[in-house]
Symmetry: C2
Subunit: 254 residues, 2 copies
Amino acid sequence: MSVQDEKTLPMGMFMDLERSGPIPLYFQVSQRIEKAILSGELPAGSRLENEVALGQRLGLSRPTVRRAIQEIVDKGLLVRRRGIGTQVVHGQVTRKVELTSLYDDLTNTHKVPSTHLLTLESQPADAKTAERLGVDEGSPTLHLRRVRLADDVPVAVMENWLPEDFIGIEPHDLVEHGLYQVLRSRGVTMRVARQHIGARKSTNEESALLEIEKNSALLTMDRTAFDNSGRAVEFGQHCYRPDLYSFEVTLVEK
Amino acid sequence: MSVQDEKTLPMGMFMDLERSGPIPLYFQVSQRIEKAILSGELPAGSRLENEVALGQRLGLSRPTVRRAIQEIVDKGLLVRRRGIGTQVVHGQVTRKVELTSLYDDLTNTHKVPSTHLLTLESQPADAKTAERLGVDEGSPTLHLRRVRLADDVPVAVMENWLPEDFIGIEPHDLVEHGLYQVLRSRGVTMRVARQHIGARKSTNEESALLEIEKNSALLTMDRTAFDNSGRAVEFGQHCYRPDLYSFEVTLVEK
DNA sequence: GACCTGATATTGTCATGACAACTGGCCAAA
DNA sequence: TTTGGCCAGTTGTCATGACAATATCAGGTC
């Protein structure tokens, strides 16, 4: 019995590519394929059409098709093997495969998110904050502390520091929109973020805020985020209720 | 004062590319650039030569140079901006930027790793294991449980299940080499892994094994790993001492 | 039957060329 | 002085073509 006894599917889709629109062709293709996988149209283990044939059928060049496929490989949904072809990964868990999202989206899954703003103040940078943000120690920063809730149940305590040019953000924005949305609306686009994920016991204050027992286990995440110019725009220390939140990561070996 | 007042560096390297060797050209180039960044030769904020010029100087086509640069962008060390160029990210933390490695390597940093093998047995798959591995419930699996130590200090308790064809792995191998090395030596190459990272309190047994207080906070990680044919080859539930171990993740926005 | 050999299929790498889209600065006009 | 438009520089996208590396499979030979 061979390893891939699954047959190649015809994939009768991709008839309408918008060639003059602003959306890249490779992106249009990759989205269709991903959708076909997640919807079950391309079941686990099935083989994809080979790159050349797929390109011909869609009227696209091989590099374009190849890039589209690569996007999905990077997400961990497809596996390519030289001499063999491209297959959908086995593992029926082909859902919820987004790389660790920036939190906003995750609570949106059938939950109503809300925010309690505890602190919003200007604060001189201490040594650690200065190092993480790449600013001088003692220079002013915007310091904020929030409790994030889903369906009125507290999920996380989030403490953030931002460079001084963000001083002036209104409390109203943060309660309504979440930090990253506010930054985006001010013209900042995040590009790179470095995260450390760990665990520790909760303090008494955190236990009260999160409505959990004293000395519970907490899931913690430190993050420094950089915008598209490479400047640090945010440093945060967050802690989560582990019974309500966890991180999902998909690794793809080179 | 402009945002990028840094000057473009000449980068007088890349003289010796091995064109006939087995190592891809784009990989050779990306390694040189990454090395130059990590060594400080390309300081934070400095601009890279533009793709066309760099290609000409190295005798390479633009796609090849572009791919080399893209590799480093994906690691979060470089940032590209259309119309501007490619810059090294600000943020002096340009060290230890490897995506969440597969554990073996992490303990190797100045520590002596060792392993206590607690369990190594054949065990019929329960419902959860069967689902994760994609095998039938009740079919035989290899079940193993280990304590991982660094410098003789326990760091993690790791419990794994593998499909039946791995039954026959010797205890000696696991003590000496770590699970992933053993699998590699049996011809398995990992491609995709899905991980869930969370936290919880330790059980009494875990507290004893890890030499920590009862009811401490633990960092937990569940993982299912797939080989290059997309078949699940390992399912594991691990827990770590949070004072000795944490996860590092670098996110890059599309 | 076991083993080698070659043909075939498929992805991996690389080159060349072209145009589009975005950014920044220069310069002229209001 | 300010505004607007033009221009050059750089990355983003896409097409075409070629060869290399690797896995499968059929067939022949020992």
